[in-house]
């Protein structure tokens, strides 16, 4: 299978070339176009994966949908075009074992070797990061595709790194994650406009986005007139 990013990062779409028998699991509603030799199967479980209804429900908590769409090429040389629901960027991450913790609705697609589950991110993180209480846990080996509103950049962390809450797209589970204040005093950090930040510690890869949707909403919201 080969993939190609079209028009990144503002209105990214992903084009896959699938050989006969190859398949890919996508977020429901991600499909834009496809050739006729592809079949779509909608289930609540990941391909060959365990779970079902429970995992589906858990996935709903994390901001993903209950169902997953599995596209399988029945004929050679098939192509599939997918994209995130909103405007935004996509990124490809190759997994060789291990686990990637993906924020809320950023999971877009993955190959069958990757198991998709939901993880509880803890009370304090959820309360203060303003994000979903549950994150998507992707583990195994295969190709993982993430999407986000802002342009996605990646970073190899080795040691400590601080990032503003809401900008996290995904991170490897070898990284420890703490919520903290940007400056020493809480008032100072709010006055500084940074509020609370996520502090990472350890070694691993982090994907973050340049812009967040809530900040766009906060900017536009007051200017919109009620109908």
């Amino acid at each position: 299978m080969r993939h190609q990013m079209l028009c990144p990062p503002a209105a990214t779409a992903l084009r896959f070339e699938l050989e006969q028998g190859e398949s890919i699991t996508c977020e429901v509603g991600a499909m834009i176009a496809m050739t006729s030799g592809l079949t779509v199967e909608t289930t609540s479980k990941s391909r060959g994966g365990s779970g079902g209804i429970i995992k589906g429900l858990k996935r709903m908590f994390s901001g993903e949908s209950f169902f997953l769409n599995h596209f399988t090429a029945q004929l050679p040389d098939q192509s599939l075009l997918i994209g995130p629901t909103l405007l935004g960027d996509c990124v490809h991450h190759s997994m060789r074992g291990g686990t990637m913790i993906v924020q809320g609705s950023s999971w877009l697609a993955s190959t069958p070797g990757i198991e998709i589950d939901t993880t509880w991110q803890g009370f304090s993180s959820a309360l203060f990061s303003g994000e979903s209480m549950f994150w998507v846990k992707c583990s195994g080996g295969g190709e993982l595709y993430l999407s986000s509103y802002g342009a996605i950049h990646s970073l190899e962390i080795d040691g400590d790194y601080t990032i503003d809450t809401g900008h996290i797209v995904a991170f490897e589970d070898t990284l420890k994650f703490n919520i903290g204040k940007a400056s020493r005093s809480l008032i100072g950090s709010f006055l500084g406009g940074e509020g609370l930040v996520c502090k990472f510690h350890g070694q691993g890869k982090l994907y973050y986005q340049s812009h967040t949707l809530p900040s766009l909403g906060a900017l536009l919201g007051p200017k919109l007139k009620a109908k």
């Binding site: 190759s94 997994m95 074992g97 291990g98 686990t99 080996g141 589970d173 691993g204 890869k205």
Partner: protein, 416 residues
């Protein structure tokens, strides 16, 4: 691609297994007791288990790979699942143990130089590492245990908190629904009361009903007609029935169905006393005590039925409850309310409310003589105070010239 790599790895393992199996077969063919000696490493303690973890090393494409970990010959060994599979190892006595990761339960084992890191999150990995290193890693591992215990504590704390929150929510929810039901019931049209009353009335087992033109029926009907214009709900159709029963009793069903027992008419000293009882019972109907009582008895069921719009179901259930509970009693507050409203109606109809109090007094005096006939008293207790409260209330009512009822009680009593 990662998937292919995994397949490769599995194939490798199969090869190993096959070779081992063949080897074992050969050994079996010769002598079984030499089996133990086939692997010299077995002398040293070796981990029988393998763990899924990972490796960080610059030589791996991407710098990181998932790996299958094992502990043998005093070394932590990691075979990457990347293609081709690479083997890394760190002697246990050179391991720098650290905890971290998203779960804060991941065990990291680093070389002193920090160029190679092997990590694993599996629970048994830490135990095995501790065992294999002969307690050398006890310090950092103790920290892990402490962390796990703290996690468990935190979990318990949140669990307790959630349980309390749930209980609170249920509590608030339950009473919220009941409260909503009360409001919703009050908002129901009076026709619902009437339906419940009619249904309950038809299902009740009672003595013979007197004809409408019987002198006793006519007497009671005339009193009701006199009081009716002063009822607080004008559209309520009061329907009164006299039933043959020696008990001194009368009751009102929701919607204005009123039943008077012949026993009560027989014992009344004046038509005004009967008017007092009727005004009280009519007030139960206008104050909608019946349907309130039904909603209390049915509680959540009634609430749900009203919320889903199933008024028909409510009527059916309400009729059942009305049959059994209206006869028992209303609450003290409802009785007092009915007394005061009854007094107001009597006053407005130019009937002295004192008659109502008189009737209670009479019943009280009669108690000793007729202990079994005190049906109305038994459903209307605390009459000591109510006589007092009726008299107090009467003082607040507008002063009117009372007119004695032009009714022949004697004739009605004689006809019974």
């Amino acid at each position: 691609m990662g998937r292919i790599a995994i397949l490769d790895r599995i194939e490798h393992e199969h090869e190993h297994e096959n070779r081992d199996a063949e080897y074992e077969k050969k050994q079996h063919r010769s002598e079984s007791h030499v089996l133990l000696q086939r692997n010299p490493a077995m002398v040293m303690p070796a981990s029988r288990e393998s763990f899924q973890g990972g490796v960080f090393h610059a030589s791996i494409p991407g710098g990181r790979s998932g790996a299958t970990l094992s502990i043998a010959r005093g070394e932590l060994i990691a075979d990457t699942i990347s293609e081709p599979s690479l083997r890394f190892s760190i002697p246990l006595n050179q391991c720098q143990i650290d905890l971290g990761g998203a779960s804060n339960r991941m065990v990291f084992c680093r070389t002193k130089e920090g160029d190679l890191t092997i990590f694993c999150e599996e629970k048994n990995f830490a135990k095995e590492l501790d065992f294999q290193s002969g307690g050398m890693l006890a310090g950092p591992l103790k920290q892990l245990k402490k962390g796990l215990a703290a996690d468990a504590n935190r979990f318990r704390f949140w669990l307790t908190l959630s349980a309390v929150a749930c209980a609170l929510l249920l509590f608030v929810g339950y009473f919220g629904v009941l409260w909503t039901a009360k409001i919703a019931i009050r908002a129901l049209p009076v026709s619902v009361d009437e339906k419940i009353g009619t249904m309950a009335f038809s299902g009740m087992e009672m003595g013979r009903k007197l004809e409408a033109n019987h002198p006793a029926s006519r007497l009671v009907q005339e009193i009701v007609d006199k009081l009716k214009p002063h009822a607080s709900i004008p559209e309520l159709k009061f329907k009164v029935t006299v039933v043959e029963d020696k008990d001194i009793n009368a009751f009102a069903l929701p919607g204005g169905q009123i039943v008077v027992f012949t026993g009560l008419i027989k014992e009344a000293k004046s038509a005004e006393q009967i008017a007092g009882v009727l005004a009280h019972e009519m007030s139960h109907a206008t104050l909608r005590h019946g349907i309130e009582r039904v909603s209390q008895s049915l509680g959540i069921v009634a609430a749900i039925q009203i919320m889903v719009g199933d008024v028909g179901g409510l009527v059916a259930l309400g009729a059942q409850v009305a049959q059994t509970s209206i006869l028992t009693s209303y609450s003290r507050a409802a009785e007092t309310e009915a007394d005061l409203e009854g007094a107001r109606m009597l006053n407005a109809a130019k009937i002295d409310p004192k008659a109502m109090a008189d009737f209670f007094e009479m019943l009280k005096e009669k108690m000793g003589d007729l202990p079994d006939a005190m049906a109305w008293i038994s459903t209307h207790p605390q009459h000591e105070t109510r006589v007092q409260s009726i008299q107090n209330h009467q003082k607040k009512l507008p002063v009117v010239q009372y007119e004695p009822l032009q009714l022949d009680l004697k004739a009605a009593q004689d006809a019974l």
